[in-house]
């Protein structure tokens, strides 16, 4: 059984009588331990997909199973608990709380899972160690560079030991060099067995992951456009991915 099973998921927005299909009948499996990128041009529905996968949003149609739980029928409280324990988010704009220091930011998810102060601190320090930020634990986010902020955000995503980590354009706000270092960090986490989903519009970044899913106009593309990627696929899963998409799915 896959870690995430998405079946015929649609997300429809209504704007002034007009129907916008941000996601259109998406079916997708993500296995435990996969390092996967979701790629597509701006406005194609990547973030919408990630929000639904990440239990921040619920689909208009279709079903999602995450780690054995059907989440399209979960209520807001259950979704919050799932986000808290099973999911880690990394955002383009880091989204650290400016008034808290790095350690406190990393502790934040554990605050909402009712973990004691001492354990929180220990685990936050361990996570910061993992991303190479232990020596900055007392800094405010504003005292850090973009790359450092993103590392702190990754530590926050890791700290509750989630089943899956979603990163939405994690390098979008970083220079190339720093961005590469962050991608390297993700690759390393992946090699430690983490399940990571990278959302990006940049084929070069997508090229880092063994498996890529291209999304266009809310649909998973029939065929991965390798010329768009401009690179030869590294992982062996691309043909399988294309094969997965049954016609009419």
């Amino acid at each position: 059984m896959a870690l995430v099973e998405l079946r015929n998921v649609s997300k429809i927005y209504h704007l002034g009588g007009e129907e916008i299909r941000a996601l259109d009948d998406v079916t997708l499996d993500i296995d435990e331990g996969e390092f996967i990128s979701i790629i597509g041009p701006s406005g194609s529905g990547k973030s919408t997909l990630m929000h639904i996968l990440g239990c921040l949003d619920s689909p208009s149609h279709g079903s999602i199973r995450l780690d054995g739980t059907m989440i399209q029928s979960a209520n807001a409280r259950e979704l919050a608990a799932i986000r808290n324990r099973k999911i880690g988010f990394v955002f383009q704009f880091f989204n650290l709380l400016p008034k808290l220091n790095v350690a406190q930011n990393v502790e934040l998810p554990m605050v909402y899972s009712g973990i004691s102060g001492r354990e929180r601190h220990q685990r936050a320090m361990a996570a910061l160690e993992q991303v190479g930020m232990a020596n900055r634990s007392q800094h405010r986010p504003s005292q850090l560079s973009g790359g450092q902020q993103q590392r702190a955000a990754i530590a926050r995503a890791l700290v509750n030991n989630p089943r899956i980590i979603f990163a939405d354009e994690p390098t979008g706000n970083l220079d190339t060099h720093t961005g590469e270092a962050i991608l390297e960090l993700f690759r390393q986490l992946s090699s430690e067995g983490r399940t990571i989903v990278l959302v990006t519009h940049d084929p070069e970044i997508a090229a880092v992951t063994p498996r890529r899913i291209e999304i266009r106009d809310g649909k998973i593309a029939e065929k991965l456009d390798l010329t768009l990627a401009g690179l030869s696929p590294r992982g062996g899963r691309v043909p399988h991915e294309v094969h997965d998409q049954e016609p009419g799915a």
């Binding site: 919050a80 989204n95 934040l108 605050v111």
Partner: protein, 449 residues
């Protein structure tokens, strides 16, 4: 644990907007201060009244007062007998529910000795029952005997106030002065002092006197004693400035020789009674009334004034204070609550993104809601704490301008009630902003710039 974190986070948030939070708290501060101040005033009033009531004879003392005859007896008005010894003796004999009957015959007289003279608080002819009636304690000498009464002897018992005026106060003299056996003039007639009452004072006066005794150097020049006015408790002043003589003495020496019209006036100026127990007050008064309707031949020219009537007046005064204080407090708390709600709405508007982040990492709607609520509660409680501080200051000021007997007293109950009220205001003011924050959609909140 989680709650503690929420509280700490809330306090930090308040601290980071010190000026704004302070302004927001003002309403609560004012509300609590007026609530506590008002109840302190009332408590002070009650204390003063209680002391005065005891000084005047206690809650079970009933005055039989002269009253205009009712309208349907108008034609009998000139036959109204007034209160006389006939009433007193009949009451003693025929009203068993009445425990003490104390007749009084007032003498309007200046009391003098040598070149010193004073108007006593009251100068009356009495029976020994007056000691029980007015809760007097004889400190020195004796009270009047049956022979004093029978022979209408020129003897008197004085209070310490009269002693102070005519013989000097022990405080000034530095020694006790007990003028037993001395002669004083009451309306020009010589009277021998046979007894002196104890010194009466309110709690407040006692404390002041003791403080003065500790720092005797600080006596100021000029007139040293305050009279019956100003900050002194009137009831105690009057009680100390008492001159008692036997009832018969008062009649024979000041009334029997005739009044304005040359007719002896045997009417009493007061009859006070006490019943066996306040629980039988009603039937006892009924009994007394029945007796007096006989002695007055059915002409109802008297009425009973119980301390309850006094209490009613006091209570009305207290009610007024309560209403005005309560209104100010209520309005202040309301305004304070609106202020808090306003500030909380502004605060969550500034923190939409923060709320989105918190939700993304797993904060439930309830966690967000309680965070807002705790913050709003914390503002209210901080305001309440400051209000309590302010009310202590206010009471200090009031203490210096109200009569000492009525010095305001802050009670723990008032503090508790005020704090509970502010807490309620904080919670109510936090509800709507809390709901608003809790319902924020995390995706939109995260996208919010």
């Amino acid at each position: 644990m989680q709650l503690l974190n929420t509280i700490v986070a809330g306090l930090k948030e308040i601290w980071s907007h010190k000026a704004r939070s302070l302004l927001t708290m003002l309403g609560i501060v004012l509300g609590v201060a007026s609530l506590v101040g008002m109840s302190a005033l009332i408590k002070g009033m009650e204390n003063g009244m209680k002391e005065s009531m005891v000084a005047m004879g206690g809650a079970d003392k009933v005055l039989i007062r002269e009253e205009d005859v009712p309208a349907d007896q108008e034609h009998l008005a000139d036959q109204a007998p007034g209160r006389t010894m006939y009433d007193v003796i009949t009451l003693k004999q025929s009203a068993p529910l009445v425990r003490v009957v104390s007749p009084e015959m007032r003498v309007d007289a200046v009391v003098s000795r040598g070149d010193k003279a004073t108007w006593p608080g009251e100068c009356v002819g009495v029976w020994p029952a007056v000691l029980d009636m007015n809760l007097h304690t004889l400190a020195h000498g004796r009270f009047f005997s049956d022979i004093d009464e029978e022979e209408a002897r020129a003897v008197c018992v004085i209070g310490t106030g009269i002693r102070d005026e005519l013989f000097g106060s022990p405080e000034e003299a530095g020694r006790e002065i007990i003028p037993l056996g001395e002669i004083i003039q009451i309306r020009g007639q010589p009277f021998t002092i046979v007894g002196m009452l104890t010194h009466y004072e309110s709690e407040e006066e006692r404390r002041e006197r003791e403080a003065r005794a500790k720092a005797p150097q600080q006596q100021q020049a000029g007139p040293q004693r305050q009279r019956g006015w100003g900050r002194r408790n009137w009831a105690f002043w009057r009680k100390n400035n008492t001159v008692y003589m036997p009832l018969n003495t008062a009649y024979i020496r000041f009334r029997a020789a005739g009044d304005r019209d040359g007719i002896p006036d045997w009417r009493l100026s007061d009859i006070d009674i006490k019943v066996h127990d306040l629980s039988i007050l009603e039937p006892a008064l009924q009994q007394a009334r029945n007796v007096m309707m006989v002695t007055h031949r059915g002409i109802e020219d008297f009425t009973f004034q119980t301390q309850e009537n006094n209490l009613d007046q006091i209570n009305a005064q207290i009610r007024n204070t309560r209403i005005s204080g309560g209104t100010i407090a209520g309005i202040s708390l309301l305004v304070g609550g609106i202020g808090i709600m306003n500030i909380m709405l502004a605060s969550i508007n500034e923190r939409i993104r923060e709320i989105g982040i918190r939700k993304a990492v797993g904060a439930s709607a309830f966690a967000i809601f309680s965070q807002v609520l705790v913050e709003s509660l914390a503002i209210a409680l901080l305001g309440a704490a400051m209000g309590v501080g302010a009310s202590y200051g206010m009471v200090k000021i009031l203490e210096s301008i109200t009569p000492t007997g009525n010095a305001p007293v802050i009670t723990p109950l008032a503090l508790i009630v005020a704090v509970i009220f502010s807490a309620a205001v904080g919670v109510i003011a936090g509800l709507f902003p809390g709901f608003k924050a809790a319902r924020l959609n995390p995706i939109e909140a995260l996208r919010y710039e």
